[in-house]
């Protein structure tokens, strides 16, 4: 079952993890600073519209990259690996939003890394299914 992961898959997965982390952090920033306590009608100034447009662009890039990753690898392979974005969000939340990082959280993160390491050592693509379609 051991299989060397192609560079293309590694690059796309890394990009996907980066985009998901960026999306979650930016979404939180928008929720706290722009969308909070405003109704839809109040979001009319150019600054708010640009900020929401940036969110839509990141979402679009993430979706396009996700579709590409889905072509390259099994869903059961990539879906758990994407959870590594939790770690980047945690690190960013600690430095930017000054959220606490507890021992429990560090242990949980290490277990996620171990799980991702185990999954990355399995075959990334079920060739049998590809050849059928």
């Amino acid at each position: 079952m051991q299989q060397k992961l192609p560079l293309k898959v590694i690059f796309r997965l890394t990009l996907g993890i980066f985009l998901i982390s960026l999306l979650e952090i930016y979404w939180k920033y928008l929720a706290c600073n722009i969308i909070a306590n405003k109704s839809f009608g109040q979001l009319i100034n150019i600054h708010d519209i640009v900020a929401i447009l940036i969110l839509v662009i990141i979402l679009g890039c993430q979706f396009a990259n996700w579709l590409y990753v889905l072509k390259l690898a099994d869903l059961s392979f990539i879906e758990p690996i994407m959870t590594i974005s939790y770690i980047f969000v945690d690190i960013y939340s600690y430095f930017v939003f000054h959220e606490d990082i507890t021992i429990k959280r560090i242990i949980g993160t290490l277990i996620i890394i171990m799980g991702v390491w185990l999954i990355s050592g399995t075959t990334h693509n079920t060739i049998r299914v590809r050849s059928k379609s």
Partner: protein
Amino acid sequence: MNQKLLGILCVIASIVTETIGQVNLKKSTLIRHPIKKRIVMVFGLTLMLIEVFIWNYVMQILDLSIAYPLSSFGLIVITLMSKFYLKEQVCLRRWVGIFCVLFGGIIVGSS
């Protein structure tokens, strides 16, 4: 119906819509027929968008410490669907890895 029960039901609904959405997006990459491919992709994308709205509602009515660990169970459902519907090969090592990610996610979410 109390808020917590409604929240848990919404998490289950978000897991179901995300799973069906993801599986259909993956399925669309395997289909060669262009029209069928687009139909399956749009169906998957629509479900993913519905999931975003359900999740936003969950955020409003349920604590994150409950919502995140519960949503981690979606990994198991997606893997089962991948195995039985998409016919992916899921070996023991991957199952162990998925349970590690699930367990880690529960710890991180509840901390």
